[in-house]
Symmetry: C2
């Protein structure tokens, strides 16, 4: 079989220029021109988000297959658009790759990209490919548009509103713990579920669109840094606080069974573990009356916004103290 | 002074959220929300481009100060918008940084970014900051809009049209040779000029806009991979070719004086050296009649489009054979 080599242009031609069939009419120029040209929707605001994933920081090559990496890169960006109640549309891909890649890496990465682009009806309109002298770096800029109703912004919660989340919390961070402990081999069914929740999350596009278009929330965010950290972001710039009931946090059966066998405190993972990619939002609608048109994802009330600043976590009425930094990393400059 | 440390959020807050004063009205949400929200111009197409720069691939930390790195990252992206005849507007910045940065690196980088954003009236609307276990990686997605007249696309040259370039060619690649040989110390005035052309190029925004709005060109591209490689891109998808007269290539006095002392063939640098960030375009207007409203940059006819496929380079009528790969790097997969 020998070694295969490609130039940057050949990579674009072979793996990325044919990722979709026909571009929609609003794309006047895509990959291969200096810049992509779009005719934006005149009636919808334009949404733009960007996320980067770096090998050995956000993932390990040993447990992140290239097709899954492509899917996750796209999905974490989609999640940001979902949190605005928007519709994802166009991707700009950026790759920095070491000189020597494993056989089949590019094929698998572009297959993964193609699959997730088809699933969400996205189009690749541009990007850049470069050498990396170190880790694999992948990044995506995702453009989207607001749907019916205006996108839901952060920073406008009101005291007394209920805090809701979609789906279940903590699966992803427990999945990552499993990966770091034992990799992807000989996983139990429960462990495999949690690992999949980490590697291949589900952005809540439909729920986000319905919440925005029916004006059900005053503010919404996706949970990427961890519930507490992202709740902190929601409260930024206000003098408000929040109270969370730990016993209300939605946990999957798989999470409960696996976490009970570990030394970890399950609530810490659900409160502070990151990368859930569920939606967190505040609403003045009462928990009993709140429903979406689909039963999936489940919507769970977990607490409320308070006049008192700060975030309080209560377990059966008793305040908990937590180390909750989310996924924050500290950068240093030599003094 | 001791060591300073910042979290990702603190970096964004401290160095990037205040990079401009007030955002224009069309930016509804910027840095700090899940996604940026814009109300795009209803009458202008949206342009999107992206470029990534990786340490030890595109630059060396020893000769690329952080403020210059920021300027160059922005300018290479602006150049792509300029080649469409467009107006650059909004940037999305992506940084992957090693844990330990030199003192003052982030301040200098954000100062450089602020300077070039002000110079070109750009606004930072989002991005992502990450750790890097290896090189510094910086990337920018730049949004812009078409100006008067539609953006100029590639791929539509016509046989018989004249090939024009702005400015001078080869300065940047000769500047990079100087940097690789002796770094930035004890440069002559000529060498310093060429090094500056490499580190701090001048995207041709005004020229691009005028060429597009006055419909002076049928196709246009910016020269980033090298004249021959980018001319190849212009001809892609056509059955046409081109002929270039070497003696017509516009060379700066500094280039001529420095190149004459080296063993390099000056024409090879001007033909195949990359990162000129000048505009290359084809026009049916005769060279004698072609003028722009400003004398800077100079516009020079260098050849013409031919019915015969392939690119021929003539020196006083005699064909030259060149090794002209441009800046292409080859990626490998193990077989």
């Amino acid at each position: 079989m020998g070694e295969q080599t490609w130039s940057e242009f050949e990579i674009i031609d072979r793996f990325f220029s044919t990722i979709q069939g026909h571009l929609p009419g609003e794309v006047i120029a895509g990959i291969g021109d200096d810049a992509a040209i779009l005719t934006p929707d005149k009636d919808a605001p334009l949404l733009v988000t960007h996320d980067m994933m770096v090998e050995d920081v956000h993932f390990r090559g040993t447990w992140m297959p290239p097709d899954t990496l492509a899917r996750k890169l796209v999905k974490v960006n989609i999640s940001d658009i979902a949190a605005m109640g928007g519709i994802p549309q166009f991707g700009i891909l950026s790759l920095a790759l070491p000189d020597f890649m494993e056989k089949g890496w590019l094929e698998a990465f572009s297959d993964g990209l193609k699959g997730v682009f088809q699933e969400y009806n996205l189009f690749l309109i541009g990007g850049d490919t470069s050498r990396s002298p170190g880790p694999v770096v992948v990044a995506l800029t995702l453009l989207g548009k607001g749907g019916n109703g205006f996108p839901v912004l952060r920073h406008h919660p009101k005291a007394g509103e209920t805090l809701f989340v979609t789906g279940t919390l903590g699966d992803s961070s427990l999945g990552m713990k499993i990966l770091n402990r034992k990799g992807t081999n000989s996983l139990t069914e429960d462990e495999a579920y949690l690992v999949k929740r980490h590697l291949d999350p589900t952005p809540r596009v439909s729920a986000g669109r319905e919440i925005a278009s029916r004006h059900l929330a005053s503010t919404m965010i996706d949970i990427s840094d961890g519930l507490i950290a992202d709740l902190g972001h929601l409260l930024e710039g206000t003098s408000l606080g929040a109270e969370i009931q730990v016993e209300s946090l939605p946990l999957s059966q798989e999470f409960k069974r696996v976490a009970s066998k570990l030394n970890d405190t399950p609530e810490t993972l659900a409160l502070a573990g990151g990368e859930d990619y569920e939606l967190l939002f505040t609403s003045s609608i009462s928990p009993d009356a709140f429903t979406l048109s689909s039963p999936t994802p489940k919507i769970t009330p977990i607490g409320h916004i308070t006049e008192t600043p700060g975030i309080r976590v209560l377990k059966h009425g008793t305040p908990l103290t937590l180390e909750t930094g989310g996924f924050q990393h500290r950068f240093h400059q030599k003094g």
